[in-house]
Symmetry: C2
Subunit: 405 residues, 2 copies
């Protein structure tokens, strides 16, 4: 069969390790692999691919799917390519540990469940490096994207939006590139909230190299994210594949400056396809750097936004298409279940408390506390601060007000 797969690794010990192997074998976001994992789980998927012999029922379904959409099914070729790229997952895990990166997979408490909206293209797993909890950071997040070759106007706007959103507790997600991305991250760092850099290379790699200092600060105040294993280099297709994760992580994407054909518009297309809010910042019509933004506005695909207030009005609105039951506005305390209400009672109004302290005070275990805090944050009751969690002012008024009656 010619693969380097040894008999000792043919049955990975758990799903996690299997996913690490599959992340090397399939292209990130490959929908066929996504469906195979959904069909039989990561361990079975790895075993079948390693044997280059997929479940015949799955193969039949895939061939039917290809036929219906008018494509030629290249399943056999795909499986051969996957098998040929097998690498020892333990090596990736060891390198990750060495570089200080952690792996999260669907089902983990830190996994941002909004990525499920990517369907078959959901990442198989994510490598993270940074202090912030990705799931909590992205509960209230906005992506800011745009041209690398930004003008001073674009840089100013991206930094301003980034810092104003960050000051108000919103996490800024972007791609860590030159220009708009970097300005947005820097503004977000200045605002004090976490920021999320989504890379097209390993989280230990620095691309562009000039952003080494920027990424170092992001790791201490936010988190760096990648679908590729530590040590992986960026390639052109990876930037485009990466863009769907930027769009999916946040409630909405703001395009600050973009030419008519650009990566930022690719991210915008993903955001629109995922029913995320799509926003564009207008600019001088005399500059090509705003042409993509004006195109989005004119076509009605993007809402024209000119301030952070307008952004928050939109992404913080009732009826956001993103799982409103998790992300709605503040709801009366009465709708909360017993456990969640006890956790809410344990969250301080000032300062902040870590999940462990809150768990003890609420009389629940740590996992439950973390789960409840995520839900409470999504519902607008609590917010993450440097030292853990505290009540949001609005929740303080409404939630405690209800309680006092």
């Amino acid at each position: 069969m010619g693969t380097p797969l040894g008999s000792g690794t043919r049955t990975p010990e758990d799903d996690r390790t299997a996913r690490v192997a599959l992340m090397r074998m399939a292209e990130a976001g490959d929908p066929v692999m996504g469906r195979l994992i959904a069909w039989c789980g990561p361990q079975q998927a790895l075993e079948q691919v390693s044997r280059e012999s997929l479940d015949p029922d799955f193969a039949t379904k895939e061939n039917e799917l290809a036929e219906r959409s008018g494509r030629r099914s290249d399943l056999a070729r795909l499986v051969t390519a996957w098998a040929a790229r097998y690498g020892d997952p333990e090596a990736d895990l060891a390198l990750g540990r060495e570089r200080g990166a952690r792996l999260i997979v669907p089902g983990d408490s830190e996994w941002p469940t909004q990525l499920d909206d990517l369907g078959d293209a959901r990442p198989f797993g994510l490598w993270l490096d940074g202090q912030a909890n990705l799931r909590f950071a992205c509960l209230r997040s906005v992506s800011i994207v745009g041209a690398r070759a930004a003008t001073p106007y674009g840089v100013q706007v991206a930094a301003q939006l980034g810092s104003e959103l960050s000051i108000r507790g919103w996490t800024v997600v972007s791609g860590g590139a030159y220009g708009i991305d970097a300005a947005a991250h820097r503004g977000a760092l200045a605002g004090g909230s976490p920021t999320v850099v989504t890379l097209a290379c390993g989280v230990d790699e620095c691309y562009p190299r000039a952003h080494e200092d920027l990424f170092r600060v992001v790791r201490s105040q936010g988190v760096v994210v990648s679908e590729w294993p530590p040590g992986a280099h960026p390639t052109r297709p990876r930037f485009l594949v990466r863009n769907r994760v930027i769009a999916a992580l946040s409630r909405g994407t703001i395009v600050v400056q973009a030419a008519v054909r650009s990566g930022a518009l690719n991210t915008a297309t993903h955001a629109a396809g995922l029913n995320r809010h799509l926003m564009a910042v207008p600019g001088p019509i005399t500059a090509v750097t705003s042409e993509g933004c004006h195109m989005l506005i004119r076509s009605g695909k993007a809402v024209c936004v000119t301030s952070h207030e307008e952004v928050i009005d939109l992404v913080g609105s009732i009826g956001a298409d993103l799982a409103p039951e998790r992300r709605g506005p503040v709801r009366p305390r009465d709708e909360l279940n017993d456990e969640t209400r006890r956790v809410l009672e344990a969250v301080p109004a000032r300062g902040g408390a870590g999940p462990a302290v809150i768990a003890v005070a609420a009389g629940v275990d740590l996992t439950t506390a973390i789960g409840c805090l995520g839900g409470l944050a999504a519902a607008g009751f609590v917010e993450p601060v440097t030292r853990g969690w505290r009540l949001r002012r609005q929740a303080d008024l409404q939630g405690r007000g209800d309680h006092a009656r």
Copy 2:
């Protein structure tokens, strides 16, 4: 009765003279005067106002109208104020002749019938000074308005739009003010088509004074328009009243730069109310000068436009709400009536011919020729040039093509 109305002028010789008198007596755009003229004609209206005794049926209707809209009827006070402002219309007509101004009233061949869309607020008459025929000039016209305190960006955009539209045969209508207005007129003059300055003072007055040279060139290539008699000075309310005429004359209004409370937005409101196309040019969100434009775009009231092509796409489109039978795109020759077809045959493809020459060649009288040319221009068959009229290229292809079959 105390009015200065002498018995010799109590019965004006014709509607025209009566309208000149009424233009001094009532505020421009006063809907009550508009309805009174519509009710009994200008001569009767003048006589009744001079006697301070309106037709009781009209008064009853006005009082009912006031009651229905929850206003107190101040008809008596209004009539007294009108009567008190009576001035000799012959003096205005003489001054107009002296200053080279001409008067047009509804029904005149030069009257732009799109002003009828103003309903009760239609001008009672218009004073004109300039070589261009107002009706023909405005058949394909766009208003460009904006801040007096424009930035270099706004001035550049207004001049560029003005000249590009003018080059393509579109007339630019504006208010002759500093900033955006002046830049739009200057661009239009450079493009070679007529431009229309709509003033809030007499056409012989120069406001602002610094635009004396600009207005002189406009008179030779376009036309200066006013609802106020020669010699009248501008007042603050007159600028706002004037704005409805800017909006009504053209097929659409472009706001280039505007603060959130500004005269340009007042014109925009009129344009929207008249079902004209409303367009706004985006700009840097860091400048207050574009805030009004972004507000219009965000609210969906205005279409975001970034080039003259986008403007023409919109205002030149099929199904414009403005009397599409007059303003539609090029239609097959077969739909034209006999007279109009003969006039079309007489229009040269190159150079240009005056209406008199065309009338002789077509075998129709001058008035018929002028009427047909207006209709043909509105339908896109012919266009006005310096020396009269010529076929539009598109018409040359389509119209003559049909003919050749």
